[in-house]
Amino acid sequence: MWNLSPAELAIVLLSLKVAACCVLVLLLPAIGMAWLLARKQFWGHALVDALVHLPMVLPPVVLGYMLLVLLGRRGWIGRWLYEQFHIQLTFHWWGAVIASAVMAFPLMVRAIRQALMQVNPLLEQAAQTLGASPAKTFLTITLPLAYHGVLTGGILAFSRSLGEFGATITFAGNLEGETRTLPLAIYSLTQSPEGDAAALRLVILSVLVSVAALLVSQWLERRLLRSQR
């Protein structure tokens, strides 16, 4: 019952790889967008805010379809990517990364934005009088003081990616060994008459992986907190 087959192990590793890449891909854009929304007032602020949050309210399948229209092999950008660089995102694990990244983006932005809003701007002002440029101020004062938001955002994005189904299956497909992550594998097994036992194993595995991810993140947060005290 508890011995993982090579195929199941490959599914878990693929899911972890996609989730980790999703966090890495999102890190810079999410920090940038969170800073923009937290610290800058500009024309269209509310519209940008709404667009960022769109994936939270749209059905994942709709987003998957939109990604297909944009980045699919015959999509507006996808065609150009394929013709110029032979890059095809559909039916490729990078497609799964992008699909889950789009879904996780608002979660990460929200967490970092909240943390940035809690950083006292007067400390940034003090840093500037000490000769720190805005970039240095951000990297040495703002970001370290908002680390818990970055960490929380990373955990949320990782977990969202582990559980992502709709956008991934629509955009990246359900290709064994390439884009079949844990939720997609469970779905596939539930569609076959003899797949119940294997599906249950993957469900338990899913729960274990998620709990492990949360425990690791809590441990990381405690360590960071200790180092900053």
């Binding site: 007067l122 500037q128 000490l130 000769g131 720190a132 370290p144 900053q228």
Partner: protein, 218 residues
């Protein structure tokens, strides 16, 4: 020498509309004290010199370096002005140790004012490894003064550095401030609403009221 001749017009200031004209010269080694009631514009004046606020008109110059000139549209950002600003609340960076705070504004090379000297004068050696949350109010202000000095400023601005301290702590910190001014010979602007405090530190005292700086003769 710091030369200031500026006008500040803030019709929407928090307490009441502010119209301020400040004109003075501050040579090296001199400490100018500015007194004034709350909302008279003392902090606004210091922040304008530090580049955190833009005056409505006028000129700010430090030696040969032009920091602000309204007519020539010159406005150096705060990080390009060698100013040591000590805030009312210290504003130490909570995630850094005292030593990291002190080193934050230090140039990598050619430091005229060096860490051991500052640590010695302000008697903060035992605090170096601590975090700001582990310091008393007086210790925090001493570290804040040290941090401002290690920026290698050409002018030292002190914005009510003792306002958050009780009388006993004030008496403890005041000698350090006088020692710093005497040792480093920086042109210093010391702002407070407490007359005795200003008189004890400054060589000459000005009163800021109704938007004008007037010298206090006695």
């Amino acid at each position: 020498m710091l030369t200031v001749d500026i006008q500040i017009h803030q019709p929407y200031a928090l307490t009441s509309p502010l119209d301020l004209h400040a004109r003075f010269e501050l040579p090296a080694g001199r400490c100018l004290g500015i007194m004034g009631a709350s909302g008279s514009g003392k902090t606004t004046l210091l922040h304008s010199i530090a580049g955190l606020l833009m005056p409505s008109a006028g000129v700010i110059r430090s030696g040969d370096s032009l920091w602000f000139d309204h007519k020539q549209a010159v406005q150096l950002p705060p990080w390009q002005r060698p100013v040591g600003l000590v805030f009312q609340d210290g504003r130490l960076f909570p995630h850094m140790s005292v030593e990291q705070n002190l080193r934050y504004g230090m140039p990598a090379v050619l430091a005229r004012i060096v860490l051991p000297e500052v640590v010695d004068i302000l008697a903060i050696q035992p605090l170096l490894k601590r975090k700001p949350s582990e310091l008393s109010g007086g210790e925090k202000q001493r570290v804040a003064i040290g941090r401002a000095l290690l920026r290698q400023p050409s002018v030292l601005l002190m914005d009510e550095p003792l306002s958050g301290l009780d009388d006993q702590l004030k008496q403890q910190v005041l000698p350090y401030i006088k020692q710093v001014i005497a040792t480093f010979g920086l042109p210093t602007l010391y702002v407070s609403h407490v007359g005795d405090e200003v008189a004890e530190v400054a060589d000459e005292v000005f009163m800021l009221a109704q938007g004008q700086l007037r010298q206090v003769v006695d």
